[in-house]
């Protein structure tokens, strides 16, 4: 497949994702200013060469804050989806390999997981342990477990009926070895597609939780918290309520389009039908 044949959503998504990840990586070694440096005499500055997007109510550089927040957001999304995805995929593989009551149990538990929207679960954790970014990671990871358990079980069940799996069983390979060597590599595509889409959702959830004060705590910047601070200043400095939102949309749109594009490539039948 040459570059020209790639679906447009994949290319646009990849560009946006590279942009956001690049900014997030860059923020670990360089930002124009210290993101937390206060300078009250410089507050509410408009865009200029010194401060590309101006400064906030405490004179902090908006670009620097947005950059560090991108890093925070990516770390939360990657960690949470990785933890939830790993546990969920292992449970799905287990359910598919064992079948019977094990499969029933895993599936019923994953039904239960769907009864808790991420927001509700995070609220519960915040109420019990106090608000913090690690709790956000736990909450997002937790709600990802049933999602990945379902996706991986459904795909694994199909692979188990393939002839090479029968051959492996006839050769005396155990169920765990088959799951590891034959099933896992063959369900990687749908799992990776799902992970990309879940990244997008994780970024949205982290932003909402931080906006509500349950996520990143000051002075650690987060797009969500920047928006909640900007909300009280809407009459004074409306522009501060715009930039962090644009950053969220860029990141979520990027991962969402990338996920759609990857699905189109891995399952061309679907793409043609659209």
């Amino acid at each position: 497949m040459t570059l020209r044949q790639l679906p447009a959503n994949l290319i646009i998504g990849a560009i946006l994702v590279i942009l956001v990840l690049g900014v997030a990586l860059l923020s670990t070694i360089w930002t124009p200013y210290d993101h937390a440096a206060l300078s009250i005499s410089n507050k509410f500055q408009g865009p200029s060469f010194a401060h590309l997007l101006g400064t906030d109510q405490l004179g902090r550089d908006v670009v620097s804050q947005l950059m560090v927040a991108a890093g925070n957001s990516m770390v939360v999304a990657v960690t949470a989806v990785f933890i939830g995805g790993t546990i969920g995929t292992m449970l799905g593989l287990l359910a598919s390999a064992k079948g019977g009551w094990v499969e029933d149990l895993v599936m019923r538990l994953s039904d239960l997981g769907f009864a808790f929207p991420a927001l509700l679960f995070a609220i519960m954790l915040a109420a019990a342990f106090g608000p913090s970014l690690p709790n956000v990671v736990i909450a997002i990871a937790f709600i990802n477990i049933p999602v990945f358990a379902r996706v991986s079980r459904a795909s694994a069940n199909q692979i188990w009926t393939r002839e090479y799996v029968f051959a492996a069983r006839a050769a005396g390979l155990g169920k765990i070895a088959i799951s590891r060597d034959h099933i896992l590599p063959n369900i990687a595509a749908p799992v990776i597609v799902q992970a990309t889409i879940e990244f997008a959702l994780a970024i949205l959830i982290e932003a909402a939780l931080s906006y509500l004060g349950l996520g990143a705590q000051p002075p650690s910047p987060s797009w969500g918290r920047m928006l909640s601070e900007a909300q009280t200043l809407m009459y004074l400095a409306p522009q501060l309520a715009v930039y962090p939102g644009l950053a969220i949309v860029t990141a979520v749109l990027g991962f969402g389009l990338l996920g759609d594009g990857l699905r189109d490539i891995s399952d061309p039948r679907l793409a043609r039908e659209r």
Partner: protein
Amino acid sequence: MGYFLFRRTVGLFLTLFAVSIVVFASMNVLPGDPAITILGIESTEDARAVLREQLGLDEPVLGQYFAWIFNALQGDFGVSYSYGVPVSELIGERIPMTLSLAFSGMALTTTLALFLGISAASYHKKPGDWGVMLLSQLGIAIPAFWLSMLLVLLFAVKLRWLPPGGFPGWDEPLSAMRSLILPTVALALVQSAVLARVTRSSALEVIRLDFVRTARASGFSKSRVLWRHVLPNALIPIVTIVGLQFAALVSGTIVIENVFYLPGLGRLIFQSISNRDLFTVQALVMMFAIIVVLANFLVDIAYVLIDPRLKGRSN
């Protein structure tokens, strides 16, 4: 139908039972002392002991759980630590706000999404279709709370047509409704983006079937075929998503109520968290989980009403 309903109802109660255990466990059994959460780390051990006894925390965990469930089934969720009134009273005062927000949001979502989705399907592969798809892709990526802020910026700060937040109470019905317009729109726009996509792809599946061509050939107008023939046959996936979305809408109200300072359950849950009112939070989380589970249950029932063939399959 009877057997089917029975099976689903048993499943519903088992799920609710499991949900109640999860909620109770995460609040009470996980490491962490509710007395410290409520009183703060600086509190004296004596004060904590008194509070624990007062709240029944010195009882065995299992006994606490059953006491909680037993009382909750009778509508008694305990007394709110911070407000000093029964939690059920607090919930009763605030539930109309949350429900009216959720239902008006749902109504607007469905109307918008069906209209956009069906028109996109009928303009398949034309600019109208791409426009709707682009909008819905954007709508999915926009956080509801940011959309709310943008709406406030435009309609409250700039144009001054609508209030930026707050709720005057139902005694002034006109201004009460005015203050619900922006929250409802913010809630519905994001959700309808998702639903419009589902409606479109589901309608596209149906549109190329033979009976649609026959209907068009026998002289029915395009819009009549779309709404009377295509839509009813495309409903199953749409209903699934509507059910899931009602759940999303209800948890969306938690955020939206906090953006617009509306006195509903979502605002109460946050006030209770900052007041360290653990038992109110516990009751509210349970309430929200029940609403989500019930919505999913109703979707299952609705399937069978729409397509009776599914009943046989699930048995």
